[in-house]
Symmetry: C2
Subunit: 209 residues, 2 copies
């Protein structure tokens, strides 16, 4: 198909598709003349994937490039695949660093140890920064609240891994892209559930929350 | 304090603080001469808050402005406060719309009804777009997976509301800012928990996930 048909099929403007091509996020089409190329179904898939990662997941182009590399050449272990999804997340956020005091670092270390999680330095650093920022913004995350968030994360993770198919290439897409695209789903569901929890507390006669 | 001291106290560059002032995100200081002003502790708080919302929560300046308006003049009901946090979330994402087919809309409607959630049109629309995008990207969110995410969201929401203080102004900050700043915490914890769940499945002899 021509680039205009690729735009119609995907709902992504021609100018954006040309940008993906220039940035190397989309393999070139098959040249049919000096100025024209033809594209296949694999281009439709890739355009939709890149669009979803930039729009829904809000990834930078650099992070999308990392994710695509992991999909095109899936790591042999699925543990490394999880690493690719994490890398995309953490790399985009690494700008906001600055010093984090030892109290916050120790708190993250204690949580990771208590849960039996793998002590991933990039994730731990990111978590410490987020906790520090929340505290500075006047909304410190208390131990009980953090424990609830961790419980929910463990529940989600078990559900995530139950969805992973056996074929390595499919598993790569599911783990990396599925995780990135369902992060915002979880955030939206949290808002729905907050409204319900608030209404319930009001019903319970304890005053509206 | 002078603007340079405000920058030191907050770790936010002077140029960024001037930008916040121009954009109306920070109230002007008290003028001490035609070109100088002095700032107080309330400016320190506000700069840190704006910084956290743009950096950690990734909000646009327009969304930050909405959140600040809700904090400066808290809605009378806490339900409306939840609405402010939602609005900040949904408004930033509304660009990515396009048509969503009826199948996806019905699926969202069925989930909301089954959970007894309030049928919020903006949240439902956003969720439908996210589910459509995941499907287009080749990683459809199955019913079981969606149910796990919803369970986790309800768990988080109960924990969120347990943290809300009684004083209205504090409640506003906790609900709106606390929710926005812990969204990325939940995302990071999910990555930690995925690594653990993956290792457990590997230990269980079912093959690495």
């Amino acid at each position: 198909m021509r680039i205009s048909a690729l735009a119609d099929r995907t709902g992504v403007p021609v100018a954006t598709i040309k940008y993906y091509l220039r940035e190397g996020l989309l393999p070139p089409g098959e040249a049919t003349s000096r100025t024209q190329a033809t594209y296949g179904d694999e281009h439709v898939d890739r355009v939709r994937l890149v669009r979803a990662m930039t729009e829904s997941a809000g990834l930078s182009l650099a992070a999308v490039r990392d994710v695509l590399a992991a999909l095109d050449d899936p790591p042999r272990s699925r543990h490394d695949l999880l690493g690719a999804a994490q890398h995309a997340l953490v790399a985009d956020e690494a700008r906001s660093d600055g010093e984090v005091d030892d109290v916050v670092r120790r708190r993250v270390g204690a949580l990771v140890a208590a849960r039996g999680w793998y002590d991933d330095a990039a994730l731990a650093g990111r978590l410490a920064v987020l906790l520090r920022d929340a505290e500075r913004a006047g909304v410190p995350v208390g131990d009980e609240h953090l424990a609830v968030l961790a419980d929910a994360a463990e529940l989600v993770a078990r559900g995530d891994l139950a969805t992973v198919p056996d074929a390595p290439a499919d598993a790569a897409r599911q783990v990396v892209v599925g995780t990135l695209l369902t992060d915002p789903v979880l955030v939206v569901l949290r808002r729905f559930a907050q409204q319900q929890a608030s209404a319930r507390r009001a019903d319970g006669g304890q005053g509206a929350v």
